[in-house]
């Protein structure tokens, strides 16, 4: 157990009639980078709050760094960095003041604070911006400051709640780069996200829907286990007629418009390419290209939710 950074065992959290987290169990080993994927309201934030001892579980239990979250929250918190969804920054304080404030809260001696602030600002790429007000920073920079705050006390475990929502793609990638650097220095990281493509970045991931953990595993493994059949990408003319014809075909699990092309999932062993050509021919469509496509996490999600 000492090797495990997080162990959740049958966690349940109800708010009145509403079950936000419904019998969730998983474990995260030290040094892992784990994604926690789900839509708004699927229970990601509630799970993280349970792990931080911010909420009491209705049932089940969890340990973080070997300590019970229900009774040892105050011993867990100094060893864990938490970045809450709203980027909890004081907008009327500068970058430096925000970092120093939280440094003080974690009990860093006054003499050490200025040095630690400089190191952190450099670490998250905010060097040179220490005297800007947090409210003046754009999304990507605020996100970095929030991460800096979560790391002010050199935590062993980082829980990041939707750190990349609303941030532009370049900033998102840069942020993931940062996450992996931190992980390489030995920290364990649990990151929640509602971006499918981001979850691909994680060594392992959990998929949440309506409070339930649908799956837990490595992205490639989940794709192999859950998505049946074949994925195809094709262009045809007229495109929407082709789409309608495919959606009416029983061997087709899923057919979607993807910009200027169609993405089709056929049942395994349905004769893939030949089947599609026959269907489209019969509908009076000309197939201009037809290539195998790649399985995505969205396919995994749809397969699990179905």
């Amino acid at each position: 157990m000492a090797e495990m950074a997080i162990v959740a065992d049958g966690l349940v959290k109800r708010f009145g009639d509403f079950t936000a987290v419904d019998d969730v169990s998983f474990s995260v080993a030290r040094g892992e980078v784990v994604g926690y994927l789900g839509a708004n309201g699927s229970g990601k934030t509630t799970t993280m709050r349970l792990l931080m001892g911010l909420l009491r579980p209705t049932a089940g239990s969890a340990t973080v760094l070997g300590l019970d979250v229900a009774c040892d929250a105050e011993r867990i918190r100094p060893r864990v960095g938490y970045m809450s969804q709203k980027f909890a920054l004081y907008e009327d304080l500068t970058v430096r003041e925000n970092l120093a404030f939280y440094g003080g809260l974690y009990g860093l001696p006054l003499a050490e604070l200025p040095g630690r602030v400089v190191t952190l600002a450099e670490r998250v790429g905010l060097a040179g911006r220490e005297d800007l007000l947090a409210g003046e920073l754009s999304g990507g920079w605020r996100q970095r400051l929030a991460l800096g705050i979560a790391m002010v006390h050199r935590p062993e475990l980082l829980l990041l709640d939707e750190p990349t929502s609303g941030v532009d793609p370049a900033a998102r990638r840069a942020f993931w780069n940062l996450i992996y650097e931190v992980a390489e220095e030995g920290a364990t990281v649990l990151v929640s996200t509602h971006y499918m493509d981001e979850a691909e970045h994680c060594g392992r991931l959990g998929i949440m829907r309506s409070g339930r953990l649908l799956a837990w595993g490595a992205p490639a493994e989940l794709k192999r286990q859950t998505v049946q059949g074949e994925i195809w990408e094709l262009t045809a003319d007229p495109l929407l007629t082709a789409l309608a014809a495919l959606q009416a075909t029983p061997e087709v699990i899923e057919a979607d418009l993807q910009g200027d092309r169609l993405r089709v999932q056929t049942k395994g062993g349905a004769g893939g390419e030949a089947l599609l050509r026959t269907v489209l021919d019969a509908a009076g469509c000309t197939v201009t290209s037809l290539t195998p496509g790649e399985v995505t996490l969205e396919d995994v999600f749809l397969a699990l939710a179905r």
């Binding site: 980078v33 789900g38 839509a39 708004n40 309201g41 699927s42 450099e122 790429g125 060097a127 040179g128 754009s138 999304g139 990507g140 920079w141 996100q143 970095r144 929502s165 609303g166 941030v167 532009d168 793609p169 370049a170 900033a171 990638r173 840069a174 942020f175 993931w176 780069n177 940062l178 992996y180 650097e181 390489e184 509602h194 971006y195 499918m196 493509d197 691909e200 970045h201 994680c202 060594g203 829907r209 929407l240 789409l243 309608a244 899923e254 979607d256 418009l257 993807q258 910009g259 200027d260 092309r261 995505t296 969205e298 999600f301 749809l302 939710a305 179905r306």
Partner: protein, 330 residues
């Protein structure tokens, strides 16, 4: 009028036409000279992060805000002079839930129908048709606030469609929805497209934008790139390498030092290398990495994603400052 190629090319038959639209809030230029054109039956994806100007732009297109400069023409009506005629052809789903939570599903639909001048049996049959269309049959008597996020969006879509608009403007319709609901919503949007409406969708999601026939990338109020998904990734074909190797610091240093590598990006347990030419790095890098003490699992050329395309746009446009630029230099 000739500000952008697409606006010029699509101008004749476009039902959504923006020409040099600008709008500032105080010192912030929220929309900074955007031109675009969308034809009937076309889906246009306006992709951008929070604060890029998506919502302001859509509000300019519905006439909820006045532009500081430029003009917007919807279904041939200039919004500045024939606002109401233009609006009569627009269906609009605002980013924030803007139905009446304390009215029922049926009451919401009826209200928005009446506002649009529908009445009597016509309104009733249209409402029934739309409830079936969005899959809310049986929920007529529910109050809108009791619906789940996805059902609210479907009701919003039904209300936006009640007057059979030629132009559908959707502001982040699927933010925060789960993929299943998102897929259902897109099935509906696809059917509206099939009926010949022009649809403009704003979104922060790359994969959602990829569903559109054309994508415009909005950044700090400017349209920095526009094109069909295939056209946007085309320049990168053969220029993206995927590298599985560690430890990261060493890999990053060695890879970045290669003369043909323009950008090294962590992609989970892998790296994406954006290169000016693939041959050199493919031949040189594994050796160089091993020499530096790194372990190399795999290096291969991969098909570029839309994200790769946009990232390369950012990194090859040094005038735009971004966090990752500073992180690299700092």
């Amino acid at each position: 009028m000739m500000q952008s190629a697409s606006a010029a090319a699509g101008a004749e038959d476009a039902v959504i036409l923006a020409q040099g639209l600008r709008r500032a809030y105080g010192a912030v230029q929220a929309v900074d000279g955007v031109s675009l054109a969308v034809r009937p039956g076309e889906a246009y994806g306006l992709l951008g992060p929070d604060g890029a100007g998506k919502t302001t732009f859509i509000r300019l297109l519905v006439g909820a805000l006045r532009p500081d400069a430029g003009r917007a023409v919807i279904s041939g009506f200039d919004l500045a002079t024939a606002t109401e005629a233009a609006r009569a052809t627009i269906g609009y789903l605002a980013g924030r839930f803007s139905l009446y939570g304390d009215l029922t599903v049926a009451e919401n639909l009826r209200f928005f129908g009446q506002v649009r001048g529908l009445g009597g049996s016509e309104l009733n049959s249209r409402a029934r048709e739309l409830l079936g269309f969005v899959g809310l049959n049986g929920f007529e008597a529910w109050r809108a606030e009791q619906l789940s996020g996805g059902m609210k969006q479907k009701l919003g879509l039904a209300c936006a469609l009640i007057h059979r608009p030629k132009v559908l403007l959707l502001d982040e319709p699927s933010s925060g929805l789960d993929p299943l609901t998102r897929r259902d919503l897109w099935h509906l949007i696809t059917r509206v497209l099939g009926e010949g409406a022009a649809v403009l969708v704003s979104t922060p999601y790359m994969d959602e934008a990829a569903r559109c026939g054309r994508i415009g990338l909005l950044r700090a109020g400017r349209l920095v790139a526009e094109g069909r998904p295939g056209d946007l990734t085309a320049p990168l074909i053969g220029r993206v390498l995927e590298l599985s190797a560690g430890p990261r610091r060493v890999v990053q240093q060695v890879a970045a030092a290669d003369p043909d590598v323009r950008e090294v990006l962590a992609f989970g347990d892998r790296f994406h290398l954006l290169v000016s030419d693939a041959e050199g790095p493919l031949a040189r890098l594994p050796q160089a990495l091993r020499a530096a003490g790194a372990q190399v699992e795999r290096l291969r050329s991969i098909a570029p994603s839309l994200e790769d395309a946009f990232i390369s746009l950012y990194s090859e446009a040094p005038s735009v400052s971004s966090p990752e630029a500073a992180a690299r230099h700092g």
